[in-house]
């Protein structure tokens, strides 16, 4: 069998989080931006039972030619985790030089809030094995206090991940306008969220 590298490299982005956090909306924006950039795009997500407070994920793949909609384990160039535990849960997907961007705010799973289990210190564990390849972002905090809308958390995360997406800012902004089309106020808030996410990353990397 030949190795799995496609002739042209495919970009693999995995977005994960908890039901209700806007995982699917974020993956809509990324895939639309990739389409506008002229790539072939495939995106896969989980619906139904899994959405009732469960763990949600969306696979996005773009490039010259994309075959299947699912990212093979160990091949995600980027994981955007809207919740730290969820980021850790999907770590097997990360490629050997991939980057994971995590929101620092935790959402407690049932076994933890019912007092049966502890929430493991996944942030520290990730830093230990990945070092600079794990970036922790206070996205919820920025969304709440600086944007004034906690729902823009996902787009703050997008801003903080933009560098690793190989997508032009212009296309990402157009994608946001298309995904939220008709909602001028929301679009404005999301542009701000994007900007603040990007700025935070700059600061982090200095």
């Amino acid at each position: 069998m030949k190795d799995n590298l496609l002739e042209e490299k495919v970009k693999n982005v995995l977005v994960v989080g908890v039901g209700g956090q806007g995982v699917l909306r974020l993956s809509d924006i990324i895939s639309t931006a990739a389409l506008l950039q002229g790539y072939q795009v495939k995106k896969s997500e989980v619906h139904g039972m899994a959405q009732r407070g469960g763990s949600v994920n969306s696979h996005i793949r773009y490039g010259k030619v994309v075959a299947g909609p699912l990212i093979p384990k160990g091949e995600a160039d980027l994981i955007i985790a809207l919740e730290p535990l969820e980021g850790y849960r999907y770590l097997e997907y990360l490629s050997p030089d991939g980057v994971i961007v995590l929101d620092q705010d935790r959402i407690l799973p049932p076994a933890v809030y019912l007092g049966e289990m502890r929430y493991p210190n996944v942030e520290e564990a990730l830093k230990e094995v990945l070092g600079d390849r794990a970036l922790i972002i206070p996205a919820t905090k920025i969304a709440v206090s600086d944007v004034g809308n906690y729902r823009t958390q996902n787009v703050v995360m997008l801003g903080a991940s933009l560098k690793y997406l190989d997508l032009e800012l212009d296309n990402v902004k157009k994608a946001i306008s298309l995904v939220f089309s008709g909602k001028e106020k929301v679009i404005k808030q999301n542009f701000l969220a994007l900007e603040l996410g990007m700025r935070y990353l700059e600061k982090l990397r200095v």
Binding site: M1, L36, H47, R52, A67, P69, V112, G115, A125, V129
Partner: protein, 618 residues
């Protein structure tokens, strides 16, 4: 780039899920009638169609009804579409088999969305076998663009060969999104109705003739299958080839790069000639398909017929082991590891290979706290289960819907769940069975309102008629919540959001002949508790209706509550409701997450020390 943007903005290109693409394809093909009962992963097909003004769309009460509605529309001249999840087609299997005999007049497309891996289903059946047993042509798209194109073509095939066409999707196709080129709607002329009993009335004397005719139609379809571009070869080199369909084809393309691949967009009738041509010069063929060995069985039959010796490697039959996993969803890496393990002669299929990254991790990923699905904060089903669970000497049979989650801890108030409607019928069977043993156990059936209209009402009629003493709880949240809030006969709205008659559940149950009917508000804990006690005590068949709309549907939010930490005695009672908004502090006392709490008041009502109040009110 700007060219793409222009296409997006002018509606010529869009990123569509497989389901949206099927709906779009049907619309472009001029479909006039669409009928379905919701079910993941098929729901968005008719949900999307219902938004097109040109298409009459309905939520039928169940799948059998939906298919008959669509068939009626087709034989009277309108292109029609039916959609359901895989198990839904079992419910509609009766009309499906006969529809192959009657034929259709205008195109009829039957969409089945299967669920390999059981993302949100009770089983993993492979509905391609319905094509074989009901004798229907089968199309299997592998991405969104194909889903749209094949749906359009399916209508044409259906009309050309006067037969319903089965179109198989899977969860991964239905819920994956990809760019799709959009076209205009083609207004196909209405063919009208023409009386023809010898075709549409399957009396044995007519049906026998139609059976012969069906064989001729299938033979014509076999010829079509051999010539259609839907079945094509992706050129490659060597003596090893691959045959694949659906999303599995995409995985095969990635795993078997460079090999010749025969892609079957129309696996049935099996394109025997095309397959034979593909096999020429090959020593071995991998068959990559999802769920069961459908193509593999057909291929092996063909080889046997031709006396050919080509090694076929797929899933294998019972007792055989092949390189393709027998169950569960496929993926590129799952397929790859299985094929590699098979070729190395390893005995275990599921690869034990782990990445070095995984070894370096401090916490084992499989031991992380899980996020099982839970009843939502403010869920109207919660109080009923909380009280029912306190009766240790009753048997509780369940059904399918959000409320099946009442079976999980901490509520744990449901013991069976088999298929839609089975709560009432199985409760009846259990009661009759235990009576034979001299046991007079109370058996309670719990069922949702949409499920009750789907197939619960017939079971209740059966129970009344056959002198049952079972107790039935109908959880009436006035919507089909599980699949994302679809209308049903109790909502007063149609799929197209038009006002309609709203069935009065209480009157309906009484009209069936149930003498004891109790109605409670599940947000009122005392009322719910008394209602359940009264129902269980009653000597005879009793029905309890817990009536209150789903808080998610009506966006119920009365403001969050909080726990007075000084008053809380850490008794754990409110925690035992299993509400995602209530959590335990280190000292065992309770606290409420105000972002999640919607103020249903259940916990406040059961708190023994009155420690829970709306924020800002004491």
């Amino acid at each position: 780039m700007s060219e793409v943007l222009e296409k997006v903005e002018t509606g010529k290109l869009a990123i569509l899920s497989g389901n949206e693409a099927i709906a779009r394809g049907a619309w472009e093909a001029g479909v006039k009638v669409a009928a379905a009962y919701p079910g993941t992963p098929s729901t968005e097909i008719v949900e999307t169609l219902s938004k097109y003004p040109e298409v009459y769309s309905e939520w039928s009460v169940n799948e059998k009804v939906a298919l008959e509605v669509a068939l009626g529309a087709a034989i009277s001249g309108s292109r029609a579409l039916y959609a359901s999840k895989h198990v839904g087609l079992n419910v509609a299997a009766d009309p499906l088999f006969s529809a192959a005999y009657t034929g259709v007049r205008a195109g009829l497309v039957v969409v089945t969305a299967d669920d390999p891996g059981m993302h949100s289903s009770q089983n993993e059946q492979d509905n391609r076998f319905y094509a074989l047993s009901a004798k229907l042509p089968l199309l299997v798209p592998s991405d969104s663009q194909e889903a749209k194109d094949m749906t359009k073509l399916a209508f044409k095939i259906s009309e050309d060969y006067d037969i319903p066409v089965l179109l198989r999707s899977t969860t991964r196709l239905s819920h994956s999104k990809a760019p799709v080129t959009l076209e205009d709607r083609e207004e196909v002329p209405h063919k009208g109705y023409e009386k023809n009993p010898s075709k549409y009335l399957v009396l044995p004397m007519y049906a026998r003739k139609r059976r012969v005719d069906l064989e001729e139609r299938l033979e014509a379809l076999r010829k079509f299958s051999n010539s259609t571009h839907l079945n094509y070869v992706l050129e490659g080199e060597g003596e090893i080839g691959v045959i694949a369909d659906g999303v599995a084809f995409q995985y095969a393309k990635e795993v078997f790069q460079g090999y010749p691949i025969l892609k079957l967009g129309m696996p049935y009738p099996f394109p025997d000639e095309k397959v034979l041509e593909f096999l020429r010069g090959l020593k071995r063929v991998y068959v990559v398909e999802e769920t069961d060995p459908f193509i593999e069985i057909l291929l092996r039959a063909l080889l046997q017929r031709e006396g050919l010796k080509v090694e076929v490697l797929g899933k294998g039959l019972i007792g055989e082991r092949g390189p393709v996993p027998k169950y569960g969803e496929l993926s590129v890496e799952r397929l790859r590891t299985h094929v590699i393990a098979y070729e190395k002669g390893e005995t275990s299929s599921e690869s034990s290979e782990t990445s070095s990254l995984k070894h370096a991790l401090k916490y084992d990923i499989s031991e992380l706290p899980a996020r099982p699905p839970m009843l939502c904060p403010g869920c109207t089903h919660r109080s009923v289960f909380w009280y029912l669970g306190k009766y240790k000497n009753v048997i509780i049979t369940g059904d399918i819907g959000c409320y099946t989650l009442g079976a999980l801890p901490p509520l744990k108030a449901m013991e069976t769940c088999v298929d839609m409607g089975a709560s009432i019928t199985m409760a009846h069977g259990i009661e009759k069975s235990l009576k034979e043993k001299g046991e007079n156990k109370v058996v309670v059936a719990v069922i949702g309102d949409s499920t009750f209209y789907h197939s619960g009402v017939t079971g209740l009629i059966n129970a009344v008629y056959n002198k049952s003493k079972i107790k039935v709880v109908i959880l009436d949240n006035s919507i089909t919540a599980m699949t994302g809030h679809q209308e049903h006969p109790g909502t007063g709205l149609t799929a197209k959001k038009e006002e309609t008659v709203k069935i009065d559940l209480e009157k309906l149950v009484k009209a069936i002949g149930v003498e004891k009917v109790i109605v409670v508000d599940p947000y009122n804990m005392e009322e719910t508790k008394r209602g359940i006690a009264e129902m269980i005590r009653y000597d005879g068949l009793a029905v309890l209706i817990a009536k209150r709309p789903c808080p998610l549907y009506i966006k119920f939010n009365e403001g969050a509550y909080q726990v007075d930490n000084d008053k809380c005695i850490a008794c754990g009672l409110c925690i035992s409701l299993g509400c995602p908004a209530i959590y335990k502090l280190e000292d065992g006392k309770a606290a409420i997450n105000e972002l999640l709490c919607v103020g249903c008041d259940m916990c406040a009502q059961i708190c023994p020390v009155d420690a829970i109040h709306p924020i800002g009110r004491e």
